[in-house]
Amino acid sequence: VTAAEEEGRDRTGTPRRPRLHELGEDPDVRYTYANERTFLSWSRTSLALIVTGIAVLQLLPAFHLTGGRRLIGLPLIVLGSVLSLVSWRRWYRNEKAMRLGQPLPPSELPLVLAVGVALIAVIAIVVAVVGQ
């Protein structure tokens, strides 16, 4: 570690973004674990969405509507992939807020999940009705 890095600057002299563990103080470890479990729950939810999407594409018999399986399966996979990344960001923001003693930031994740699943359900209903 160089003197510049000690002062929180990189080699070009611009201030370095502090690492997570350098911010504030360690929160009660139980909260850190709770945050970690919440992230893992979100990642399992993401995986469930992705695997359901793959199952729709690979295992369902074809609808009479052309591209019917893709209309349902692709949004599921995309939603799951996006959620997995956004959930990490949420974990990071929660951890940061706890270290700095700030209130937890509001989360858009539940809304994204609820709206996404509802939209896919509507698509599935339409495909099922039209593709009869």
Binding site: P27, D28, Q58, W88
Partner: protein
Amino acid sequence: VSRAGGSDADTDRADALAEQRTTLAWTRSGLALLGALAVLARRVWNDGGSSAGFLAVALLGAATLTWAVGIAAWHLRRRPHQAEPRRPGELLAIALATTAVGLCGLIVTVVT
């Protein structure tokens, strides 16, 4: 370090239980991936090998990473009687692995 109330013994017990719940959550995540892998492996077997094999490899990689990060790597690193939460990069690895499974799904869909 700020602590939620209670005596020292209470705090130690609560920490140990929180740690156990977290390790169980990692175990469930690994099992969820392996379960998905089992379904796909069966399909690959029935088809005599197909693009589903590509997805199976992605799932197996993600499952291995989950176990390695959540259980093995953490056990190697931790010291006795001391809490050791996972690090940001380790959680990011899981998020990226999950996204990779999704990407493989998209690629397989486009290819087949």
